[in-house]
Symmetry: C2
Subunit: 217 residues, 2 copies
DNA sequence: AATTATTTTTAGATTTGTCTAAAATAAGAA
DNA sequence: TTCTTATTTTAGACAAATCTAAAAATAATT
């Protein structure tokens, strides 16, 4: 069993692993709101527990055991997010902090029953995939909206930025999960995208487009 | 804001206050699975935060502020228990440990939405009253089953013992919340109670009867 | 390759909550 | 009242997670 803090480190290392491999001490420190020295201490502890592979000055990677632990926390986080949105009418920009706490509740029965209660959702309110209890993810076929060309069509199925500010902005524009969009034009000057959303013309910045995930269909 | 540990102390002190007033150090130590010395330390801390009134060697009482905090934790605990039983199909003897963790999640929005989602329940799965957000309890008119006389009738509306062993025992006997019972005889020899439950005769020990709460009607 | 800058680690201190062992106080019995 | 017992508190130590400041290693630059 891991402590609350250890679980948080594992989760952050898991997420950062998707960007850089191995993960640097400073990157963890930044994400976890702490100092590099503290990270080094914790990494040593996790290394002794065989949850991470650690080589001094070279950063860390998760061991198989550490990865499974991390994925389980991600699973819990995302299931709770679905609960908050689907059952308690939270907005998609309100769920993160609460799920951050709920993900540490220790009870397999609870999480399996929650999964069932929510009807085994495959994605969370931001379109992120929810692993099953064995740690397996369903295949996702996302494309960043910013990569689409004129005439391309698709459905919004996820976002890659979870800040409240960004999510509220999308909400205001009507760019929520499940909506169909068609690209009218990609402006060469600034990379902004002209698109059609429910017969309405819309222009979004390249910055925004980069964080909207589309499934072509 | 209080720490997880502080919250637990406040909750225990609150519950013990119903038995003895003020609450003794050793009583807290026993309930919280720790040593008297640790309790003294924590009590001093809570006293400095004005959550308890503390006189050396004389035990503690909750201040108004401490009491409100404690009641809020009890509220959260009981609402989560209702959720687990009503929505996730937990048995009434399975909910305590998980609720013990869930009660510490910090989010007023969460708890108000949960309350609404559960349709503002007045009692938890053991018949214990759920305070409203201001800390007010609905009036309860319980009588211990062991206090009833021959011919008395009523509905089981609560239990005053929450161990899994006891609850499973009741479950097996069919003595669950909402069931109507009629007293046939109180055996003088051992205080055991003969009763009628859905046209079935049943004999329960005085020990069991003491922990079943009845609303006469 | 030598120097500078950045990143990471060590060493030692701090905070929270806990502990043991000993001292102080309160309560009960003779 | 005095002795004995039980309860509570103090003093000092410990583990977990953090911090600052300084040292060490790595990376970047000239």
């Amino acid at each position: 069993m891991q402590s609350y803090t250890e679980e948080n480190y594992l989760k952050i290392i898991y997420h950062l692993s998707e960007i850089s491999h191995p993960v640097q001490t400073n990157a963890i420190a930044e994400r976890i709101q702490t100092k590099a020295a503290s990270v080094t201490d914790m990494i040593k502890k996790l290394s002794e527990k065989e949850l991470v592979n650690y080589v001094k000055y070279q950063g860390v990677t998760l061991t198989e055991k550490g990865k499974l632990t991390a994925i389980n926390i991600v699973r819990k986080h995302r299931l709770w997010e679905v609960f908050l949105v689907d059952k308690l009418n939270f907005k998609w920009d309100q769920v993160h902090e609460v799920a951050e706490e709920l993900e540490h509740i220790q009870s397999n029965l609870l999480i399996e029953r929650l999964d069932e209660f929510l009807d085994f959702p495959k994605v969370d309110p931001h379109g992120d995939p929810i692993p099953d209890k064995h740690g397996n993810f369903a295949e996702m076929t996302f494309v960043k909206l910013s990569k689409l060309k004129d005439g391309d069509q698709g459905t919004i199925t996820g976002v890659s930025e979870h800040s409240s500010a960004f999510l509220k902005h999308l909400e205001k524009l009507g760019l929520t999960l499940g909506k169909r969009v068609e690209i009218i034009d990609v402006v060469e000057f600034d990379g902004s995208v002209e698109l059609l959303l429910e017969h309405e013309k819309l222009n979004i910045s390249r910055e925004v487009a980069k964080h909207i995930l589309i499934t072509k269909n």
